[in-house]
């Protein structure tokens, strides 16, 4: 029987002590609130007294960045990556071709060019393992101690997953041609074509038996396919044209603007003729 009353007494006592604690937290809310209101207060701001400056950090794992001018294409980082999110292509100058690949900031002569250096940040697991083997220290996580090299990049959220693939290479098509690797360029373009076709695949749509809609010129039309550029016979013109076209298609621009851009691009090159321009305009 006494246990019965002790239990009731215990319950009342501990309940009151617990409630007094929560009330204290309610009362002292100004000092105790620990929330960091993220989009308004970002990490290095002094409001949040976590006690240390971001210069004190060893490293901040925010986003991988490559100083591509320093990259010698040794592929060490690609090999170190456990999830294969780094993709590097390199081209060595062919025999007998005199091509200057440039120098890094450490005065190392580059032996090859890097036409592709993509990092898929949607797959990256921020393990930092690619950073250590780099002989030129050109791949690193941005921010923190690397702040002088590159600002911290908190949120690089994108609407499409593919936009998280960051391309660092700055090698132009002309350079690839100069180095004597036309075949690489062709292969790449055919791949882009393939992807582009894949993007436009709609699956097995049910057959609609109604009459085809009249091809009225619509203001915001997006009907042209990259295949239509096949009317350009000259390869030297076709490649840059397709590139511009593809870029413009990504941006979701009108057909008219697409064709205008293509014309503007190829009119600078040799082999351009007014007939070709007329042909392109006829596409619309």
């Amino acid at each position: 029987m006494s246990q019965y009353f002790i239990n009731i007494y215990d319950a009342v006592k501990t309940m009151i002590s617990g409630m007094s604690l929560t009330l204290e937290h309610l009362r002292k809310k100004k000092d105790l609130v620990a929330t960091l209101q993220y989009p308004n207060e970002k990490w290095p701001q002094p409001e949040r007294h976590i006690g240390f400056d971001h210069k004190d950090y060893n490293v901040i794992r925010s986003r991988l960045h490559v100083d591509i001018d320093d990259c010698i294409g040794c592929m060490q980082c690609e090999r170190a990556c456990p999830v294969d999110c780094i993709k590097i292509d390199t081209i060595k100058p062919g025999k007998g071709i005199d091509f200057d690949c440039g120098e890094t900031s450490n005065d190392t002569r580059k032996k090859m060019i890097v036409p592709r250096f993509t990092i898929d940040m949607s797959e990256c697991m921020y393990c930092n393992l690619c950073v250590y083997p780099c002989p030129e220290e050109c791949i690193y996580m941005v921010g923190g101690p690397n702040e002088p090299k590159h600002d911290i990049d908190y949120e690089y959220s994108k609407y499409v997953k593919h936009d998280l693939v960051f391309e660092f290479s700055n090698v132009t098509d002309q350079q690839i041609v100069d180095i004597g690797a036309q075949s690489y360029l062709d292969e790449r373009n055919s791949k882009i074509d393939k992807i582009n076709q894949g993007v436009n695949l709609k699956g097995n749509e049910p057959q609609v038996s109604s009459a085809p809609t009249p091809a009225a010129p619509v203001q915001a039309s997006d009907t042209l396919e990259i295949k239509c550029l096949d009317i350009i016979e000259d390869k030297m013109l076709k490649t840059p044209a397709k590139k511009v076209f593809f870029k413009s298609k990504r941006a979701g621009e009108d057909d008219i603007i697409k064709i205008d851009k293509v014309i503007a691009e190829i009119s600078k090159l040799d082999g351009y003729s007014p007939e070709l321009e007329q042909k392109l305009k006829d596409l619309l």
């Binding site: 009731i8 309940m15 929560t22 009330l23 809310k29 100004k30 609130v33």
Partner: protein, 370 residues
């Protein structure tokens, strides 16, 4: 004693039509007002609860949604626009009905619960005379109506065709029916002392003598038993086993969504307000100001009492009790179902019965002394 129905009836009696049609008007108008009151109550209470919880947990709570570009910063009203955002969200959400559910019962059950809450409001005063209908059996009516909701809960749990829901409904039924008893016993104690079931009589008794909570040691204990029992009856933590989110997902509300779910929410918070109002006018002096606690001051001092300021006093008391309920919720763990029954049957009911016995003796002695 007047009530709202009487006043409205006398106010519109100049229209020369049948008294029965006028009566319909006189009943519908307070009904609408009460419904709006319930809706307002849930909007404000949810915000209040979220903020109280946040500050107790060292968080800030809703902060982003302001009104008209006004944001209070890290203040209590920091995200006051959340009230409207929540309402719009709840009312426009998709209403999902499980394929194998009993569709009719599932549709009906939220409205039975909300009807129970609305019906209880008829007997609840907001100030002296501000009551829809002042029955002579007011307290009995409140006890009866507050358990209508359990029918809706069982229907909701059964019709969802979900094991978790059924568990929740069965637990809820057992819990509400059990806790009716200590609630009834403690209200009976008050009725014995003041000799009336009518709400206005109970408050008038307190105005003449003293608040019931300080009337005798036994009524003091009775208040706490009553309050904890009503917390249990409204399914709030630490007695929230019917909807225990870590065990039963959401209990009997698991399969409900959108508007139906917001109706549940509305009735839950309405019940909280109802029980707080009942506790205030039965034990805490209703619409009387704090000067009347022991009734020692002469009548000329009681300038803080009156019809309009009475609303304020009653609501202050009720809101404080609602806050205490929230305070419970954000402090305590949840009880197990057998412990819940233990507390009811082995602690509260013996104590209430003992209370009932001693208070009658107390009254006999006090009556013979005076």
């Amino acid at each position: 004693m007047t009530s709202i129905v009487d006043s409205i009836l006398s106010a519109i009696s100049f229209i020369n039509i049948d008294i029965n049609i006028l009566l319909i008007f006189a009943i519908v108008i307070p009904g609408l007002v009460l419904f709006i009151l319930m809706a307002l109550n849930v909007m404000i209470s949810v915000y209040f609860e979220r903020k109280v919880a946040a500050f107790m947990q060292d968080r800030l709570g809703p902060m982003e949604v302001g009104i008209f570009g006004f944001k209070g910063g890290k203040k209590f009203w920091g995200g006051i626009g959340q009230i409207f955002a929540d309402t719009v969200k709840l009312l426009t959400k998709e209403d999902i009905m499980p394929a194998n559910a009993d569709k009719v019962l599932m549709l009906v059950s939220p409205f039975i619960i909300v009807a129970g809450a609305l019906l209880t409001f008829i007997g609840i005063p907001f100030s002296d005379g501000l009551i829809v209908s002042d029955f002579n059996i007011g307290i009995l009516y409140i006890i009866a109506m507050s358990s209508v909701g359990v029918i809706g809960v069982i229907l909701a749990g059964w019709s969802s065709n979900n094991k978790w829901s059924l568990y929740g409904a069965m637990r809820s039924a057992a819990q509400i029916i059990s806790y009716e008893i200590p609630i009834g016993l403690n209200l009976l104690l008050i009725v014995i002392v003041c000799g009336s079931l009518q709400v206005s009589d109970i408050v008038q008794w307190q105005a003449d003598n003293r608040w019931f909570i300080f009337h005798s040691p036994f009524t003091f204990v009775a208040f706490f038993i009553f309050f904890i029992s009503v917390v249990a009856e409204t399914n709030r933590t630490p007695f929230d086993i019917p909807e225990a989110e870590s065990e039963l997902v959401a209990g009997w509300m698991t399969e409900f969504s959108g508007f139906k779910w917001s109706i549940f929410f509305m009735s839950e918070y309405a019940n909280m307000l109802i029980v707080s109002l009942v506790a205030s006018f039965v034990f805490l002096g209703g619409w009387l100001s704090p000067f009347t606690i022991f009734n020692v001051f002469p009548d000329s001092w009681l300038i803080l009492d009156g019809f309009y300021i009475g609303i304020f006093w009653l609501l202050i008391k009720a809101i404080f009790l609602v806050f205490v309920m929230m305070w419970f919720r954000w402090t305590f763990p949840r009880l197990r179902v057998d412990q819940l029954m233990y507390i009811c049957w082995k602690v509260f009911i013996p104590f209430s019965l003992a209370n009932l016995f001693f208070v009658t003796i107390w009254e006999l002695i006090a009556g013979s002394i005076s």
